[in-house]
Amino acid sequence: MSSTTTPILDVRNLRKTFSRQSSIFASLPGNSVTTTENCFTAVDNINFTVARGETFAIVGESGCGKTTLARMLLRLIEPDSGQILFKGRDLLALSPKAMRAERRQMQMIFQDPYASLNPRMRIGEIVAEPVSIHEPTLTRSQRTAKAAEILKRVGLSEDALNKYPHEFSGGQRQRVGIARALILRPKLVVADEPVSALDVSVGAQVLLLLQELQQEFGLTYVFISHSLPVVAQIATHIAVMRAGNFVESGPAEQILGQPTAPYTCELLAAVPTVPSARIL
């Protein structure tokens, strides 16, 4: 876990509790949900560090808190307590203005390429929007040039600039999402289920693209997924999450090869596998 230099991300005792508001339906007859406590701990005292250039994967089933954790890393959800040290600085201690400046180095890729792109904006505007926020002095043509360059790098042609999201397939939209995340050349990218909405053959294209871009731009990934096979392709470290806690974490080969937690074994055993086929 420890590295010789400061880890790019050092998360300490991170915790988030959501309150269960009593809803107007809660008192209806037939509703058997009776909660003695009205708090729900989504993320419970999580600690981990990520070194530069690593891909730290967080794997878990729905409801385990992995998305809450991912969003807290960028302060899209405000943690209750704990520390998030990004290059040694505690993000939670930053003023909103300082945090906004820091965000340029940390970007997010979302799961649903249909929901995460504004349908009324052209691709060029979507991709260049982070530039207009963080580099307001650039002219429109400079922004467009930057957008065209990163679109080309993710495998989209320049005429994508003037098109709308609905003109693209799911895989192409996810490339747009990646372009938007990378246009500011961030250091850390949090990817929340980036391939789970995509077809098998397209998902593989996007995974390979993410690996290439990681090499090229020296990116560090926090990769959230429910799928161990997907994580096995890309992760250097894996944390297995359940009910707000890490049940196990370590180097990817160790978690996949010699898991110690029973829950990890259960997850691994449930993965449907193709009979050992080697083709060609």
Partner: protein, 341 residues
């Protein structure tokens, strides 16, 4: 209606499950839909067979036509769709019905009773403002008008038990939102099987579920298939899932079956480049270089001439663009639509 001629490109040596009679025999089924670009064929000249108690996995990516095919088998195609070809279903009383040409009133005696369907996201198929029990009772009552309330109640609980829903009494009184995703899918299965159909069409029934829950549902479907001697058409994009649940696999691409055969044969020695590509692109627990299939699924309105997969195929030759190849026999009950076979 039953013609003895074998469909084109099919194995004709009689080894094709000779001991069981076919429950479903789909012959040259084509579905056409009107679009602004003209008529497109999401299902194109499809041949499929499912015997009683047999499971067939239909594998394809989005836009391959797998869902349209299942909707055609259920008589649920969007209005304006044109269907040609035959989908012959052997019914419980020994008659044969062509699902491609049923009237609305005929469908009422077939849908739910002879053939039933479960969907990917049970929350969108269940009525959110109706308790689980009455929803199943409604399905039972629709097929057996005049059944007593007590008998309906009894059958509802049996259906839930059958689908391995724990505490069926309590669950029957709950609403869909109070159930977990896995339990909702079990409730859907209970409802689908309440009319005691012979054929179950399952369209991506586990895609929205966690892996551990997915495994339970796959095991449940497999057990029910054996116990009820149920024909199962299992539609999925996941080769790992299909390996668990299906005895035979048909791979569909751009509306056409491109490879069909025993699950083990197709997955261990795939012959069509698309099947090979899908396998190479599927992540496994072993870290290896993933090989994506280049390009994307073609638009149905702009299919390439000849083989639909040719533009993405690494074995592409000039002949591929001339005509669409037939399904060619690889060996007994294994066919592939490729000139290299």
């Amino acid at each position: 209606m039953h013609t003895p001629t074998e469909p084109l490109g099919k194995i004709t040596n009689g080894n094709y499950h000779p001991t069981v009679t076919d429950l479903l025999d789909v012959r040259s089924l084509t579905v056409e839909l009107p679009t602004p670009q003209g008529w497109v064929r999401p299902v194109n000249d499809v041949f499929l067979r499912i015997a009683k108690g047999e499971s067939l996995g239909l594998v394809g990516e989005s836009g391959s036509g797998k869902t349209m095919l299942s909707l055609a088998l259920m008589g649920l195609l969007p209005t304006g769709a044109r269907v040609t070809g035959e989908a012959l279903l052997g019914t419980a009383n020994g008659a044969t019905k062509n699902l491609a040409q049923l009237s609305d009133s005929e469908w009422r005696s077939v849908r739910g009773r002879e053939i039933a369907m479960i969907f990917q996201e049970p929350m969108t198929s269940l009525n959110p403002v109706m308790r689980i029990g009455p929803q199943i009772a409604e399905a039972i009552g629709a097929h057996e008008p005049g059944i007593s309330t007590a008998a309906t109640h009894q059958r509802t609980l049996e259906a839930l038990q059958h689908a391995a829903v724990p505490e069926p009494q309590a669950r029957a009184r709950q609403y869909p939102h109070q159930l977990s995703g896995g339990l909702r899918q079990r409730a859907m299965i209970a409802m689908a099987l309440a009319g005691k159909p012979n054929l179950l069409v399952a369209d991506e029934p586990t895609t929205a579920l966690d892996v551990t829950v997915q495994l339970q549902i796959l095991q449940l479907l497999d057990r029910l298939r054996r116990e009820m001697h149920l024909g199962l058409l299992f539609i999925t994009h996941d080769l790992g899932v299909v390996a668990k649940v299906a005895e035979r696999i048909a791979v569909i691409y751009a509306g056409r079956i491109v490879e069909e055969g025993d699950t083990h044969d197709v997955l261990t020695s795939p012959k069509h480049p698309y099947t090979q590509g899908l396998l190479a692109a599927s992540p496994t627990l072993l870290r290896g270089k993933l090989s994506p299939i280049p390009g994307t699924v073609p638009q149905l309105s702009a299919l390439p001439p000849g083989c639909s997969f040719a533009p993405r195929c690494s074995f592409h030759r000039a002949e591929c663009d001339a005509v669409m190849p037939d399904l060619r026999p690889v060996k007994t009950s294994h066919t592939a639509r490729c000139i290299l076979v």
